[in-house]
Amino acid sequence: MNMSPTVVVGYDGSVDSTTALRWASQLTRAIGGRLRIVHAVGLLEHAGLLADHVAVHRETALGIAAGAGADPERIEWSVVDGDPCSALLRMTMPPESADLLVVGSRGSGAHEGLLLGSTSLELAERSVIPVTIVPREREAQDSSPPV
């Protein structure tokens, strides 16, 4: 890991992605790293057919990250076309670079115990960089920095 590691975290507005974002924010604060928040835009969101849109997600995500202690100067918000898994994988591969990928245990639409629809399980299988899957329960048990 380099001297200023980059942590990529997926955020889709779900409870689990919010937990992951808080955890990743605390981590980057603790290690002096950069935080890249990635939001995947799919077909329905592009067409404005989902309740929330990109601007709302951006404002919410940046607020959560700052509230969890991430340095606002070292936070980057990225909107990427694609399904969440593909979009997150692309953000960890050249020409992009990252040292750690952080995701919630399930995202919006995913189902416990199933590979189908589980972005986190698929990322764990396909990512070429380390992946941290933050369980939903983690926040309630321990909100201290993860180092």
Partner: protein, 350 residues
């Protein structure tokens, strides 16, 4: 010329609700578009049985198929923010994939005509082991793989507004399939750069022509002519399958290209030129979410292929994208040269 319609499927199953743009009403609009041709009893409707597991495992992993079936059996749900499955979706997807196979069989029996496969769910985003972009099984890929299994070479032209990431990835390294896609870029699903040219066993057999928002029909036609035609003619396909999405239409809510229904008619005529003989062209419904545009586009596209005295809307001209077409040519050449250099370097022991 005979019109063979393998479908409709997906009219009573796989319901995501009226809010979801990939809805049953699409198929009703498509069928209205077919009826508007005025062919009545001249249209052939072959039976469309569900695709068998043996057909599906040519392009999908067994694990994925088992997971999808089990997911549906447990009641289904949202697979990702775009893609849903319901208890009947496994059967609906198998029927959609089977319809493509039925179209191929009917064309072979007839030895003439044009096949059209109006089915849902659509297929070109579905990857070997992943559902996405409204797609569960890759219908056009299942049909193409059934042909390559018999030694046939297949050209797939994908003019949907979205890149067919699933079809590309399934045939990435297959020298018997040439995949050509025109699509808005950058856009969902994020793939489809001109630099993506195919794997080591099939360099150059993926042809991506990314286009900017607002591109008109003349740009798409130029893209096919200048970027894809030389490769297509060299490839010399036995069959031509079209991932026939109508969401590149100006009125479509899910895309930002600016084609008219008349442009699809022109594209259909162009693609038909690539068939080696009659009865080797089948069009598979992919996207298309404005019901009126969908109906008109179906009528104009099929009317053009059948040489019917229709009066499609005027083709469109003047949108952005000609520079991107030129760039696609140079990007492809550079990518192919890089592969060839690597190969000669390895073969030369360098």
């Amino acid at each position: 010329m005979k019109l063979i319609v393998a479908g409709p499927t997906g009219t009573t199953q796989h319901d995501g609700g009226t809010f979801h743009p990939e809805q049953q009403a699409r198929i009703f609009s498509v069928m209205d578009g077919i009826r508007a041709l005025g062919l009545e009893d001249e249209v052939v409707y072959p039976p469309t049985p569900k695709a068998e597991l043996g057909d599906l495992i040519r392009v999908h992993s067994v694990a994925y198929l088992a997971e999808l079936e089990a997911f549906c059996a447990r009641g289904g749900g949202d697979i990702d923010p775009d893609t849903f499955a319901r208890p009947d979706s496994w059967n609906a997807a198998r029927r959609a994939a089977g319809a493509g196979l039925a179209a191929i069989a009917a064309l072979e029996d007839a030895g003439e005509g044009v096949g059209f496969v109006p089915t849902r769910p659509p297929g070109h985003h579905a990857e070997r082991d992943r559902a996405m972009g409204f797609c569960l099984l890759n219908n056009v890929a299942v049909a193409a793989a059934s042909l390559t299994a018999r030694g046939q070479k297949v050209l797939i032209v994908d003019w949907d507004v979205h890149h067919g990431n699933g079809t590309q990835s399934i045939f990435w390294d297959d020298p018997d399939v040439l995949y050509v896609s025109t699509h808005q870029f950058p856009f969902f699903p994020g793939t489809g750069s001109a630099k993506e040219i195919g794997g080591p066993a099939a360099p150059g057999l993926t042809v991506n022509i990314p286009l900017p928002a607002g591109a008109t029909g003349d740009v798409v036609r130029a893209a096919i002519d200048h970027v894809a035609r030389p490769t297509i003619e060299k490839f010399s396909p036995d069959w031509v399958l079209v991932s026939c999405g109508f969401d590149a239409h100006l009125a479509d809510p899910l895309g930002d290209l600016a084609l008219s229904s008349g442009d699809f008619a022109e594209l259909a005529r162009m693609v038909n030129e690539f068939t080696p003989r009659p009865g080797r062209l089948a069009l598979f419904l992919e996207g298309g979410y404005n019901q009126v545009a969908l109906q008109l586009s179906v009528t104009d596209t099929l009317g053009a292929l059948l040489d019917l005295p229709a009066h499609p809307s005027a083709p469109t001209y003047g949108g952005p994208g000609m520079n991107e077409v030129r760039l696609a040519v140079s990007d492809r050449h550079r990518a192919i040269e890089a592969v060839q250099t690597t190969v000669s370097s390895v073969e030369g022991g360098g």
